[in-house]
Subunit: 424 residues, 2 copies
């Protein structure tokens, strides 16, 4: 639903909010932050600042709607669902376009950010069809996609305890690695550390065990979206993953952008799910909803940037590695949620779903180094003369994502950043 | 450490405790229960009763050691580690062998049991080598085990939100299934529902992200053990599991026995890890500890029982499907924990690890119907004239586990029961 909160001419008294690349007043993403010396609480990113929902509530503002945000997570707020989220968005929009109240703000650079929800379970899907095809080609040149790929959203359970907010450094994992030329595996630091560009989906309203979930209801369980970097140690993964799938090659770290961009903020950027090739199967009825096909996809431009230690030392800006589109997901967010619940598995407020790595069809859109360097065989040249097959210690990787449409203010996720530390 | 709490001649004032097949005074497993009309709290299973740790603490008993058990989970108690667990065990043992105090007890049959810990993350391993071999043979007759099997404990992340205590009925899952003769998959109730007999391992003291975990320290993170039924929908699993491993074929339900049998209770039943065949690889140093090899395995006899709706109607007792031994795990519990932490992944109090399905080498020891009926091809005859390829609605499956040693009281886990309801 597009309403007055999306008006591109909406005034805002917060400095730097107008024209902010991620957080103008038309976005209003939710998160958990700590101001200097303060405890964690709910907030709204606005320009270079954070609106303190705890302070708003204490001042009797926002009609009591922010009460549930005075907590260590947004679970209690976001479990309330669409109507509560919309009411809060409208109230915050009015507050920020009304008379100036700078005491409610903190400078974002002076605050720390936390996980916005409790991450009860984290599930990682594989819905980026160009990524799945690119990776499949490295393993099985003739039949890159497994026979089930176009019938259902493939996914696996990920590790919830190592999901971290943007800015937390990650340590290169140790593990068992075995090159084709090695007679035996050895244990040591991963030699093939990679990133994966994904969209994260936060569950707001949970879903009971065994309860049917019609596909038309699935989107109502989504509280919002983030960027997600599914860091992957390709050598550990390659040696361990048969027959049970990814485990220690991915469980060491997952980085998310800390602000939940809501379905309300993204309403103007909804798109039709791209038409499938005619020889692709028609999705089974539990995954098929006309309204979801007509407007359930997300028109988002996603980018990956790298800045090496040498680039930082030389004062160089980040180098862009790739740009892709969320329209290259083969399944909509609602289809991922409906499939997840289809076997009777419950969903809880705070569950996190990854979309799978998003690559587009063209060169320069690869969502991982595995694809960009063809399994490490073709090094990628960086500005400044360096090159990468896989990540080196000190490399800083940043994901960004933006929604752009004529006649609307551009909104974004804010950066999703992680810097690689040397192995323990 | 074997001490006075293991004395087989220890008196106990609780009725039915002496000679109880699971819960004599030498066991003292911990759990969370609700007495009739009461709220959840910590307890100790003793004979046919539950000792109320909340009531003990309120009465000034147990030297304040039970204070952390007055909570909705045992996380706060069990994160304290070995010394706190030992002190509580000694105090409870003295209390139950001293003067009678029946007001501290509730009849177990009148109470409800809950999950004992919070299950932050649930990981399922695959350490039962005979199971892995049996299953591998169905898929790849010539090379049943993948090349990595004997080098590391294989595992995958499971779904934490659907772990349930014994007694909770499970609904047959719906999902995509595709028989070899089907041109396309269809969505509907699983036709090949199965159980899997596993040992569960509870993490007590957590472990920090990136912190090294020497294998000699790994066992100290284990708070105790339970039985675990990793219910599996073989048809859903078979169609979905390539390339990312098990997902909806297992995420619908996992049943555990609700009492945590502690390492202290199991001290007399520790055993050497069986010697590996000489052509098996020597485990890498991060998985190798002499003391763990000498006494880190568990001598447990495990059984699977079935009672169908027709058997219940006829008043027939359960029929035993299999009996196996936990000594047929290829890796010790400490090796599973050390491998899990080896890439820097943190562990949290309440994390649950499954061992993988435990089958022994001989016929009659198969830990799943998949093995027992050779993928459903050879129906298994039950007392009363019925037979099973896979589970039918109304089937009640019970796992049991016991530790038996001459000169010591037998202890057990109590039953791990689930009954199959028809699909939604």
């Amino acid at each position: 639903m597009i309403d007055e909160t999306h008006d591109p001419a909406l005034p805002c008294w917060v400095p730097e909010a107008a024209g902010h690349p991620d957080f103008p007043i038309q976005n209003l993403p939710l998160g958990i932050f700590s101001p200097p010396g303060g405890t964690p609480r709910g907030g709204v990113a606005i320009g270079g600042y954070i609106l303190d929902l705890g302070a708003c509530h204490a001042a009797g503002l926002l009609d009591g709607l922010a009460e549930a945000a005075i907590d260590l997570t947004l679970d209690a707020l976001l479990t309330q669902g669409v109507a509560a989220r919309r009411a809060l968005r409208s109230a915050v929009s009015r507050l920020l376009s009304g008379p100036s109240q700078p005491a409610l703000l903190h400078r974002a650079t002076e605050c720390s950010v936390h996980l916005p929800m409790s991450v009860g379970d984290y599930t990682d899907f594989y819905a980026g069809i160009h990524h799945a095809t690119n990776v499949g080609r490295l393993l099985r040149a003739d039949v890159p996609l497994t026979p089930n790929y176009k019938w259902m959203p493939l996914g696996y359970h990920g590790r919830a305890s190592t999901v971290r907010p943007s800015g937390a450094p990650l340590r290169r994992p140790n593990g068992q690695r075995k090159r084709a030329t090695d007679a035996e595996p050895s244990f040591g630091p991963s030699r093939n550390l990679d990133y994966e560009l994904e969209l994260g989906i936060w569950i707001g309203t949970g879903h009971a065990t065994d309860a049917p979930m019609p596909i038309g209801e699935a989107a109502s369980h989504i509280a919002g979206f983030c960027l997600l970097n599914d860091w992957s140690a390709r050598d550990i993964q390659g040696w361990e993953y048969q027959p049970l799938g990814p485990f220690l090659g991915k469980s060491f770290f997952t980085t998310i952008s800390p602000w939940i961009v809501t379905p309300e903020a993204l309403a103007p950027f909804r798109a039709a799910q791209p038409t499938r090739p005619t020889d692709d199967p028609q999705p089974l009825p539990y995954l098929w909803d006309e309204a979801d096909q007509a407007g359930g996809a997300l028109g988002l431009t996603l980018e990956i940037w790298i800045r090496t230690a040498a680039m930082r030392a030389a004062g160089m800006p980040p180098h862009r590695l790739a740009r892709s589109s969320a329209l290259d997901l083969y399944w909509t967010p609602a289809q991922l949620v409906a499939h997840h619940a289809s076997n009777g598995c419950n969903l809880r407020s705070g569950d996190l779903l990854g979309s799978g790595t998003i690559s587009s069809a063209t060169q320069g859109s690869e969502g991982s180094l595995l694809e960009l360097t063809r399994g490490g065989r073709e090094p990628f040249a960086l500005a400044g003369g360096e090159s990468r097959r896989f990540l080196e210690d000190g490399d800083e990787v940043t994901l960004t994502g933006h929604a752009v449409r004529d006649g609307f203010a551009t909104i974004g996720f804010g950066p999703c950043v992680g810097t690689v530390l040397s192995a323990a």
